[in-house]
Symmetry: C2
DNA sequence: CATAAAATCGACTGATAGTCGAAAATAAAC
DNA sequence: GTTTATTTTCGACTATCAGTCGATTTTATG
């Protein structure tokens, strides 16, 4: 009963590494089982399909990030600090940067899309709670917080996606849009600049 | 010299129909060549790969829509009418509704993404010119028009995508966001409601 | 020890995109 | 009109892949 769980986790870990380094579409089941040293049948004893395995790999990836984000929400920080912290917590770490690159390769569209959707469902409620604090404090002035947060995430994921390089004008307009969507005073969301510029400076 | 072009067009037409009705990923090269009555080698004489053929099919699809949109831009209409018209011109027609459905199926992510990208590059400049008229008329008040137009398109394509049903609140917030992104007076963009609701009523 | 359940094996299937060298059709040159 | 080049067509073949299945081994249970 326990051995199965361990084996499954081991397979997920191996697949995770391979998906990240070679891409999901470019990693064959045959390669996974070879790396794991198991037979085809064993693989399909644990996973119904390659795609179902991908779902589990993604779930594993997001679990940790969700916890980090919740911790930031509970911490004793100002609203802007919380927002920065939550977004930073879902940003790929240095060591995980290859994931990010991998995700933006065209052959990983499916994986990218799945992660994006699930990350949004995970992060929208958390960010919304931070934004609600902001409304109470008079920092923001708007209704329908989750819908607005979601829009901001949609924009940022598309604009700062890595595959289309963004100009300073795009950042300016994005900050302006963010402030207006949330009903914040001009300049309030300037801290976004730090979040957005950093990743590009690295490479 | 001419015969080749005709054959290629014929193949693109056949593939277009099959991609639309069955989806790109679910249409095999074998099926295409069977429908066309040609051999494998002939297919690869005209196309380097299946994906390269997809690019050409998409190009064919978008050509017509670009012309329609440009015609609307040149027409003698008010700025809001032009915007509605341009967006309507890139909306799938009744007969082409299956394309739209096909595109939103998960197995067609690649095709969806490719079309989206190329449609944006096509439509952003056209819509921007209409929006610039709007600025001149005092309807809108903002800089960096193309960037702002692009953001609005990003939002709409994600929100009203078919696969996640949108609530009235989403529409309200989207309209609000659109007005604020363009610096328009409240109510100015209410006409969006007609564009957004219509497609859903159909089904 | 015997029996049931969980885990592993690997040969096999069916489908796929893409290759290749030969053959046929067409055009150009003489 | 015949020969030579070029374009077009052919289809058998390869390689790769996800997924199946019945047999076999390992582990737990009574």
């Amino acid at each position: 009963m326990k051995k199965g769980e361990r084996r499954k986790r081991e397979l997920l870990q191996i697949a995770y590494g391979m998906f990240v380094s070679k891409g999901y579409e470019n990693t064959s089941v045959d390669e996974i089982i070879e790396a794991a040293g198991i037979a085809k049948g064993t693989y399909y004893y644990y996973f119904q399909s390659k795609e179902q395995m991908l779902e589990e790999v993604i779930g594993m990836m997001l679990e940790a990030e969700a916890e980090k984000a919740e911790a930031v929400l509970r911490a004793d920080l100002s609203v802007p600090e919380k927002i920065v912290g939550i977004i930073a917590s879902i940003q790929p770490e240095q060591q995980e940067r290859t994931i990010d690159e991998a995700l933006h390769r065209p052959e990983n569209l499916l994986m990218h899309d799945k992660i994006r959707g699930r990350l949004f469902d995970l992060i929208v409620p958390i960010l919304s709670r931070a934004a609600e604090d902001g409304v109470r404090e008079g920092l923001f002035d708007c209704d329908h917080i989750p819908e607005r947060i979601r829009m901001i995430l949609i924009l940022s994921s598309d604009l700062f996606d890595g595959h289309n390089p963004y100009t300073p004008a795009v950042i300016d307009v994005f900050i302006d849009a963010t402030e207006k969507i949330l009903g914040a005073r001009p300049g309030t969301m300037g801290f976004i600049r730090a979040l957005v510029r950093a990743p590009q400076d690295v490479q």
